[in-house]
Amino acid sequence: MSQPLLAVNQLTMRFGGLTAVDAVSFDVHRNHITAVIGPNGAGKTTAFNCITGFYKPTEGQIVLTHSDDRQFKLEEMEDFRISQTAHVARTFQNIRLFGGMTVLENLMIAQHNHLMKASLYTLAGIFNMPSYQRAQKAAKEKAVFWMDRIGITDRADDPAAALPYGDQRRLEIARAMCTDPVLLCLDEPAAGLNPRESEELNTLLRSIRDTNNVGVLLIEHDMSVVMEISDHVIVLDYGRKISDGTATEVRNDPAVIKAYLGVVED
């Protein structure tokens, strides 16, 4: 695989006079977990939103390459197209589940585009044709697969908002995975989790990396998660990339230590 899954090149985001992201470049590879870290205000979430289409970058290119060598210029695409066509999925810092809908429904909605096509844009669905019924059944099975994988099958018919926080986080990830992405983007997936839940999250992410043939890009503050599972770490500070390497390399990089802890005055 010569082309990286995601190639971010000179990404720049300016809001009026403020430059939130300044010429940041990095690669994300399939079957790797890449973490973006940095002090608060470093521009991590802004960069993230540019990649997933919620902001239009001021400058730069974001190129996604599928395994059949098809390429997508994410900087030009609308947010929902990035998910629909380029198959990039994301989760949110403040969990955005459909709280009033059940766990099962959340996972079914993720398969919306596939089901819409199968229902011939509702026509086949209205008449409950066999082709639609088959697609519906398959979608349900996929949902059950993911519920089993994150261990919440017994709560399938409960509203998503009723789940404990840790389960909600993992449900959001499972929902993102139900869109069959090639790149999974997670915005602070460990926020608010206790150590046991963080462990469960790590296990889940590692298993996704190993078995699902996707690249995982995540923003995180929780260093235990970052150091435990990341294959590749990128550090941002004041909108610029200051380090790029393995977890160990980055941890020992003086520039990173300075950014987080400041320089000790003699």
Binding site: F15, T45, N49, F54, F92
Partner: protein
């Protein structure tokens, strides 16, 4: 050309009335994020209260000028007080209990209050229009052309001057006093304001009262200017004033006045040069255009949604 100038004068007059009503919409939307659907009907109630008070005092166009002016000031004051009580009561009974509730509930309630007020006045006062003989009449000619004479009436001058004074007064109130600061704090972050000891309930109530009082002055002016009112004037005046509030930038008092002037001018010019039957369509279309292309208005701040 003279025709144009006359329409300009008429438009500014009408726009001043809309602007006063718009202030109520913009302040309430700014502070609690809801469109007070019933505000236009408070304007209507203000007009009716003014009418009744004028009739009670028995002044007419032939009264002594000084007495007339004095009584009108009294009428305005009484009408402001009564309208203020209406505004306070509506907020207290219909809106405050729903403040934490889901998004549609305050809207439905506001519509309910609006319908209630309209029909309350219709039931108690009768459905027919209520005419009033002109009290302040006369004016002077400012331009004489071959085809058209441009006149400014004393009523028009009074409306514009009074509106300007009220605007200046309330802008001062908002920017310099503690009430204004409390209002702006509540607009920014209500929970934080509460934690800092600001009496949010009183601030909100006061906002409603001020908005209602200004709307009732607009009602008095409408009554004196047009000479006829009915229980339905609140509906279209309300939509137009809300358009003015959005056009000017929600939350901005100068914006509300500016928006009011623009809407008044659009309405008058459209009626004068195109069609007076469709003038409401022009104003309503303006609302759609503004909300689609310029939702932050002329003097407002654009909002960036945080993902």
């Amino acid at each position: 050309m003279n025709y144009f100038i006359q329409q300009l004068i008429n438009g500014i007059t009408l726009g001043s009335i809309y602007g006063l009503i718009a202030i109520g919409y913009t302040m309430v939307y700014g502070i609690i994020g809801m469109i007070n659907f019933a505000h236009g009907d408070v304007f209507m109630v203000g007009a009716f209260v003014s009418l009744i008070t004028i009739l009670v005092f028995g002044i007419t166009g032939t009264s002594n000028v000084a007495v007339g002016i004095g009584v009108l000031i009294l009428v305005a004051a009484i009408s402001m007080v009564i309208a203020g009580i209406y505004g306070w009561t509506i907020e207290r009974l219909a809106y405050r209990p729903l403040r934490g509730s889901f998004r549609l509930a305050p809207l439905i309630t506001a519509i309910g209050v609006s319908i209630f007020l309209q029909n309350f006045v219709q039931t108690t006062q009768g459905a027919r229009v209520k005419p009033l003989q002109a009290i302040i009449s006369g004016g002077f000619t400012i331009l004489e052309g071959n085809d058209f004479v441009v006149r400014v009436t004393y009523m028009q001058i009074l409306i514009v001057v009074l509106t300007f004074l009220l605007m200046a007064g309330f802008t001062y109130l908002i920017s310099k006093t503690s009430l204004g600061r409390a209002q702006r704090a509540c607009e920014q972050d209500m929970k934080m304001a509460m934690l800092l000891g600001i009496d949010v309930n009183t601030t909100i109530s006061t906002t409603f009262v001020i908005g209602a009082a200004l709307a009732s002055v607009a009602g008095l002016m409408y009554l004196l200017y047009y000479g006829v009112i009915d229980f339905y004037i609140g509906f279209s005046a309300g939509i137009k004033a809300f358009t003015a509030a959005v056009l000017g930038g929600v939350g901005s008092l100068p914006g509300a006045m500016l928006g009011g002037l623009v809407i008044g001018l659009i309405e008058v010019f459209f009626a004068a040069y195109f069609s007076s039957e469709y003038k409401d369509v022009a104003a309503f279309s303006m609302l759609i255009v503004v909300l689609i292309f310029m939702p932050q208005g002329l003097l407002g701040r654009p909002e960036i949604e945080k993902v």
